[in-house]
């Protein structure tokens, strides 16, 4: 789906939030964020705790006021709209279900506040409870439900209002692993069914990769990279993104030459790496980092394949992980590289290196990224 033919649902313009810390000093929680989220998109804000993702979400909801910058929802400036007038609804991290109301009353709350006719309330609450498969639970109190069921009530309570944008603040954080995976599928199904724009806050990179159309990776209040999951993983633009999403080996070096497609990087190991420069030729002598994912590295002995990037090293440690094995390999100057090999697959191939063996490492140039930070 191309983005050009879609309407922006939420636009964040120079959005900034400064909080005083307990000592009264200002701390920048969200630092000049510019983002456009399109209609019908499943968009994730991904980052470690304290990166500003929840504050960003709360500013969209109106639960927090920006220090500067603005939030637009379908082109409407939200600065003077309190939370209760914004056309968005939130699924809170700990659900925040009203404990003194039944499930039905919880889900009906928003419609009631909007003075929807009773007949329509009844119909929509019933429909929404069916959507989240809780149609038989309407009469219960939140405390009588399991964590997963409460999570679905929180979702229903927000969705029933048919918001222009649904905001989800780590909604699966409190669930155990199996339930979390089941709910990921469920959320994705519901999002596709209702077609509402979802803005999803999470610190779990796998969750974000599995569900999102696009992801903004945040750190220290800054949106570092906004991309589709594939591009984010395959082509990280910063060291933080490469490290936060999946695992990455970082090899320090210095640019020594260019050709039409590639830069040559003199690594600190004394070896030469070849990395695509994607049209951005850095000056010779620039300090750079070559990032390469463990699973993109092939290890073997005997005749190496004919690739630009082939290095010799020694197996230092082996960790068997069921589907895969991790090989820690020492390159010259004590630089360690982790390679991940699938254990015996259907072809019967498997790496057979042992600790202490001399092996070669090889990777295709296009699998590595050239980072400048």
């Amino acid at each position: 789906m191309s983005q050009s033919d879609r309407k922006p649902a939420v636009e964040l313009r120079n959005l900034t939030k400064v909080f005083p810390n307990p000592q009264g000093e200002p701390v920048v929680a969200v630092d000049n964020i510019n983002l456009t989220i399109y209609d019908g998109e499943f968009f994730s804000l991904l980052g470690p705790s304290g990166c500003g993702k929840t504050t960003t979400l709360r500013m969209i909801a109106g639960l927090e006021l920006p220090s500067s910058g603005s939030v637009l929802i379908h082109g409407q400036e939200m600065a003077n709209q309190p939370a209760f007038r914004r056309p968005v609804n939130t699924v809170f991290q700990r659900y925040a279900l009203f404990p003194h109301m039944t499930i039905w009353e919880n889900v009906a709350f928003g419609l009631k506040m909007k003075k929807t006719p009773q007949g329509e309330i009844d119909q929509r609450v019933e429909e929404t409870l069916r959507l989240v498969r809780l149609e038989k639970m309407g009469g219960r109190k939140p405390s009588q439900l399991s964590g997963g069921q409460q999570q679905r009530v929180a979702l229903a309570r927000a969705l029933v209002n048919n918001p222009e944008v649904l905001l989800l603040d780590e909604p699966l954080g409190a669930l155990d692993l199996k339930l979390r995976q089941a709910m990921q599928d469920e959320l994705k199904r519901i999002q596709q069914q209702v077609g509402i724009t979802f803005i999803y806050v999470t610190h779990d990179q796998e969750e974000a990769l599995a569900m999102s159309d696009r992801i903004a990776v945040m750190n220290e209040g800054v949106a570092l990279q906004v991309d589709e999951p594939y591009d984010l993983y395959e082509d990280p633009k910063t060291r933080f993104v490469a490290d936060f999403i999946g695992e990455t080996n970082f090899l320090e070096g210095e640019v020594s030459a260019h050709d039409d497609e590639h830069s040559r990087v003199q690594l600190v190991t004394g070896q030469m790496a070849v990395v695509p420069h994607e049209g951005k030729k850095l000056p010779v002598g620039s300090k750079v980092t070559v990032a390469i994912r463990p699973e993109k590295i092939y290890i073997g002995s005997g005749d190496p394949p004919e690739l630009h990037n082939v290095f010799v090293g020694r197996v230092h440690n082996i960790t068997y992980l069921g589907t895969d094995t991790y090989y820690d390999i020492l390159l010259p100057n004590d630089v360690e590289v982790v390679a991940r090999q699938q254990n015996e697959d259907y072809t019967g191939n498997a790496a057979t290196a042992r600790v202490g063996d001399e092996v070669y490492l090889a990777w295709r140039a296009h699998n590595a990224s050239l980072l400048t930070d």
């Binding site: 307990p22 909801a61 109106g62 639960l63 309190p82 939370a83 209760f84 007038r85 968005v88 609804n89 939130t90 809170f92 991290q93 700990r94 925040a96 279900l97 009203f98 404990p99 003194h100 709350f109 928003g110 506040m113 909007k114 309570r157 927000a158 209002n161």
Partner: protein, 288 residues
């Protein structure tokens, strides 16, 4: 079905006796026994010199229905209700603020403010109010100086003065349970209400208030019951003009020396309190 061994059950019984026993025994001796005595006295007769005459009769209870005494009952009920409502209106925002907003430091300072009055004897504090409200007290002095009034207002020895005294005296008993109840509420619930189109008032009415009802009920009972039976405050601030049941009971025991009648009024007062509390608890329970 749990099958408990005999030693376990014996340990339970020992714990019951040692932990619950002392307080129970104390209340049995010093609360229940006097109560029984008062109950018995209320059916006796006063002798010519104020002594007890052991002659069973219901005359004391018939006397309570006298319009004179009913009026005092009514006045007391109105004042106790007004003081409860007054305390509630003053205490709720205060308790909300300390539960919600400030740093631990501000919170502790505000809570200490609530408790500071307890450091001084209640009698002395109530006498202080006599000075404040008197004809040549500071309130009248300021109003006269500002030219807002030509003659001192009669503040002392009115129902208003008693009400001020009651609210002043019992406000902390409303603040503390309210604070405890509001402090327990998860404030993301208020955000959730705002997020679901409820404005501030609606969020208060639909979420905060119902969830803080345990504090409202507890605080109201803690204010209403002692207000209804108060006698120091109406005695000092009401003079002879605003009389409450407490004063009536006191005067029957100490001045009129009519212990049986005083006992009968006490029993009626207890019955009123009991019924009022039960009704309130039931209604409060429904609101939860």
């Amino acid at each position: 079905m749990t099958t408990e061994s005999a030693p376990v059950r014996r340990r339970d019984r020992i714990q019951l006796a040692t932990l619950v026993g002392p307080a129970t025994l104390y209340l049995l001796i010093f609360f229940l026994a006097p109560l029984v005595i008062v109950f018995v006295y209320s059916f006796l007769k006063r002798g010519p010199y104020g002594q007890l005459v052991w002659e069973f009769n219901l005359q004391n209870y018939v006397r309570v229905i006298d319009p004179l005494y009913l009026k005092i009952f009514w006045n007391s009920l109105v004042l106790a209700l007004a003081s409860t409502i007054g305390c509630l209106l003053l205490a709720y925002p205060f308790a909300y603020y300390i539960a919600r907003r400030p740093s631990a430091r501000t919170r502790n300072i505000l809570l200490i403010f609530v408790m500071i009055p307890f450091w001084t004897n209640f009698l002395i504090r109530t006498y202080a109010w006599r000075v404040i409200l008197s004809g040549d007290g500071p309130i009248n002095a300021v109003l006269l100086r500002l030219g807002l009034i030509q003659e001192p207002l009669t503040l002392l020895f009115t129902n208003g003065a008693v009400l001020i005294g009651l609210i002043y005296g019992y406000l902390p008993f409303m603040v503390l349970p309210l604070y405890a109840a509001i402090d327990r509420i998860d404030f993301s619930l208020m955000e959730a209400a705002n997020d679901l189109y409820a404005n501030g008032w609606q969020a208060f009415r639909r979420v905060l208030l119902p969830l803080s009802m345990p504090g409202v009920v507890a605080g109201s009972i803690l204010v209403f019951i002692p207000s209804l039976g108060a006698f120091v405050t109406p005695d000092l601030l009401g003079g002879g003009k605003s009389v409450m049941i407490g004063n009536l009971i006191q005067s029957q025991f100490l001045t009129a020396r009519d212990w049986p009648f005083g006992s009968a009024i006490s029993m009626v007062l207890m019955a009123v309190v009991l019924i009022a509390t039960l009704v309130y608890f039931r209604r409060g329970g429904q609101a939860l």
